[in-house]
Structure formats: C-alpha cells, structure tokens
Amino acid sequence: MSRRWVIAALILGVLVAIGAYELPSLRRHVSRLSSEGPSEAESRRDVVAPQISTPADTQSPAQIFWLAPGTSDTLAPATIQLSLSPDPVLRAKQVLSALIAESPSPAQRTLPADATLLQFYILSDGTAIADFSDELASQTPSGILSEQIAVDSITHTLAANVSSIARLKILIHGQEAETLAGHVDLTGFFPVGISSVTPATSNPQSPAQVSPGLLNQRSPAAPPSKP
C-alpha cells in the first residue's frame, strides 16, 4: 500500500469519527425543532384560515370558554390577550378562531383542532351565522354531552366578547346540517347572551363555571301542566 492510500484512509477515519461524535447531538437538534414547530392541524389551519387582523385592532383581554381543567362536562372562561377588532364581525371571527386554536391543553379543547371558521355574518336583527368547515361535524366526539359542550363554548364565547349578537345559527360548510355529530339539532338557533342564564336547579352554579345545557332553560315549574 502506498503512502497516499494510508493518508486517505486516515483522513476518512477521522471524518467518520467526527460524524459519529456529532450524530446524537444532531438528532436531538432535529427532534427539538420538530417539537417546537406547528402541528399538522395548525399548519393546515394557517393555510385555510388566514389571520384576521386590521389596523384598528387593539390588544384586549378576551374571555374564551374551554373545558374547566380536570373536567369533561363543565365550561370555564379563560382570559387571554388577543388583538381584537372594534368591528363585531371581525371580533367574532377573532375570538372563535382563538377558541379553536389556542386551547390551553388538548384536554380542555371543545372544538376539533382541524375545524376552521369559514365565514361569519351578523344580520341586522342580531342573528349571527357561523359557517364552520366539515371537521366540526366529522371530528367532534359523538354524544349529547360533547356536542352540547361544543355549541355552548361557541355561544358563551360570543356572548362574552361580542355584545351585538342575540342568537346564533351554525352552518357546516355553507349548508344547514340536521345535527352536529348525530345528536344536537342544528336546524334552529342557539340563544347567545349571558343574561339569559337561568339554572335548571335550585342550586345555581357560580357564573365562573357553567355546565352545558343550563343556559336558556326555564326555571323549574312545580307541577307541570298537561298540554
């Protein structure tokens, strides 16, 4: 073996040793970058639903209703700082987008991460129409409880942040759907407004936590009248 071959083999060996030394740290770096990046759902949402912002937006506290920590049937408001528009339609879009995207933890999520708000309108009589993507219907867990939680989180969040909305109609991809995920009726309107809260029980819960379905229920009547 000539002298040149020996030198080449030595250089190659040094390079392999350096690579073997750097490989673990390189792996760690890649994994850290992947964990810090947006999830698939967030990336898709960024493409489908562009940021809603106007020059008139101001940083303001917003009350968003997610599941209370450690529960699966109780909503609780969380106050976060959002860039909010003075325009009620844009403001509603901003708070609903935050409701979907900025859940404190996956366990507190009320709407599917892949769901997007496609359109939002407010009619002159205070009727709001929220048009969500198909994922709201297809990925909301099936059941009265989970579907009611989803709807209540939307109506409570709108009521807390947009004062001009009286009732809400939910559309799925531009169409009226019979139910959200097989149970809750979407053919009608959902009242919006904290003032309409009337607990069904004689032990009303604190306003900080609201169980689904307690809104808009009339106070219990004593012996019911026969129709």
Partner: protein, 326 residues
C-alpha cells in the same frame, strides 16, 4: 222492392197511425168544445208532476234524517237528557317507548376497545323493557335489532301511541365513566325549523288552506310537552343520581334532535362512556338503569294521566292527532 216505410208512404200498406198528432186532431175535430190537453200531453204532465213529488219527498226525507242526526247533540230532548250518560272511552294505557339510538350502518360512538354505542343501548333497552313489563307497564322499542330507523320513523312509533312516554338512550364518548345524564328539550329548540324559516334560512312552510287551525306540525311536536318532559327528566335524573355516583343532581336542557318530533313527554338518557376499558363496566349498569327508569315512570304517571279527549292545543301548536299516525 219497396221498403215497408216507403210502401206505407205510397199507400200500399195502411201503416200505423201517428201516435200524437193524428188522433189528437181527430179528437179535436169530434169534440164540441176544444180540449185544453190532449191525452198524451196529459199523461206526460202527470208523469212530470209525479217526478216532482218524488224528488220533493226525497229531499224532505234527507232533511229529516239530517235533522235527526244533529238534534241530539245540539238540543237533546228532556227524555234523552235523563237517559243513561254515554259511556266514556276507556283511558289509554301508558306505553313507554324506548329508543335505542343509532344502529345498522350508524354504530354511534366508538370505544377504543371495540365497544359500539348501538350495541350497548340495545342491551339497555331490552333490560328496561323487561323491567317495565314486570311492573305491568307496556314498553315498546323503536328498534329491536341492528337496524337504523330514521329520526322520524322513531318518532312515529311514539306518536302513534295515545298515552306514551319516550326515552331515547345514548352512550357518550366523553364524561366521567359510570355516570348518567338526562336531557330534555329547551324551549328555544322546540321551534327550530319555524325559526329558520322565519329568518329566511329555510323555505317557508307550505300553507294548507284546508288544514285544521289547531293542527300541530310534526317538526315541533314536542313544544306542548316541554313542561312535562322537564318534570319527568327531574324525576329520572334524581333516581339515576342515587344509583350512579358522580352523576349530576339535575337534568340539563339540550337541543337533542330526536326529541323535537315527539308528541309526548320525552327525555334523552346518556350514559358515560364508550371509552371504558371493558364492556362489562357498561353492562353492569343495565340493571340499576332499568330500575331507575321503572321508579321514575311510576312516580311520573300521576302527573300524566291518560287523556280521554285530545289535549287543548297550546298557542301555535295543536292536537296530537296531527303528529300521531304517520
């Protein structure tokens, strides 16, 4: 060869005299005073008057029979008033209609261990039927196999009953395991399609010019029963909370689609949940669940006596006959 009529015309054969004119003119010629009617005219006039008399008699008879039919209701004779009162129709027996949700191509909520909501609720429903029938209460299921009737088909089973309570059974994907929630329809959800139509989101309902003004529409059949449904939900939730720790103390209101078209007290029961590790955790709930339903039904029955006549329609609603019998 001539035809017979031609031969008559030519005088070969004395044909029969004309029936009307010839004898009449002959009679006039023979009579001293001119007659006002000839014989055939007289016969026809008599027949005409006889027909008139027959028609008049028939009309009188029809009038008399109509008066006889309406008279006892509007103005009965004193002797009829003192007669025995008409027998009241027997009250319809209470029927509990149990609706195991989903089924067929729609398995409902899926558990991570292969638990299917449609299977679990069917087992619950069968157990409830047996428990109710053991107490002498008639119970029917909207499905007794792995089929998937539509919302309206299930409603039709309940609405065909004269005196029914409707229970819709579900198993949730969420919620604390081994807890049970009861839901009744909130007020705002009872008028859902009408509201959408009023807002221009649905076509307006077609006007039926000959429809009874008190008829209730199928889509809002639950509206007159909201109070009764909520009261039954309170009784049932109370029974369930005693048997399943962690269940809420009071029922909730939810816009459950199935309840909206039921013309009877109606509630939805949702058991949590299909995500349990073992199906047996749900199966052992069947007996106390059925027991709670039996107790609630028996406690509710005095508040919901059988109707002997159609309920008075509430404002904007109508008699259950409209919703029943699809």
């Amino acid at each position: 060869m001539f035809h017979a009529k031609q031969r008559e015309k030519h005088g070969e054969i004395p044909g029969p005299a004309p029936v009307t004119r010839a004898p009449c003119s002959a009679h006039h010629r023979q009579a001293a005073t001119p007659a006002r009617f000839c014989y055939p005219q007289l016969v026809r006039t008599q027949k005409y008057f006889a027909s008139l008399l027959a028609v008049a008699a028939g009309a009188l008879l029809a009038l008399a029979s109509f008066a006889a039919q309406s008279a006892p209701q509007s103005n009965p004779a004193p002797s009829e008033q003192q007669a025995a009162p008409p027998s009241a129709p027997a009250p319809a027996p209470l029927v509990v209609v149990i609706d195991p949700a989903h089924g067929g191509a729609d398995p409902g909520a899926h558990g991570s261990n292969g638990i299917s909501e449609s299977d679990v609720v069917l087992a619950f429903a069968r157990q409830m039927r047996a428990a109710l029938e053991a107490q002498g209460v008639t119970a029917v299921l909207t499905r007794d196999a792995d089929t998937d009737p539509s919302f309206d088909d299930r409603s039709a089973v309940a609405n065909a009953q004269a005196h029914a309570i409707f229970l819709c059974l579900h198993v949730a994907s969420t919620g604390a395991p081994a807890t049970v929630r009861v839901y009744s329809l909130p007020v705002f959800a009872a008028q859902a399609p009408a509201q959408s139509a009023a807002a221009g989101l649905l076509p307006p309902p077609v006007e039926q010019p000959n429809s009874h003004p008190g008829l209730r529409t199928w889509d809002n059949a639950q509206a007159p029963y909201l109070d009764l449904s909520r009261h039954f939900a309170e009784l049932l939730q109370s029974q369930l909370t005693q048997r399943f720790r962690g269940s809420p103390p009071a029922p909730a209101a939810a816009a459950v689609r199935q309840l909206r078209t039921i013309a009877a007290p109606a509630v939805a029961i949702e058991v949590s949940n299909v995500m349990v590790a073992d199906r047996r955790q749900l199966d052992i709930m069947a007996t106390p669940l059925a027991d709670a339903v039996v107790h609630a039904v028996l406690a509710f029955e005095p508040f919901f006596p059988a109707a002997t006549e159609p309920p008075t329609p509430a404002a904007g609603s109508a008699a259950p006959a409209a919703a029943g019998g699809h």
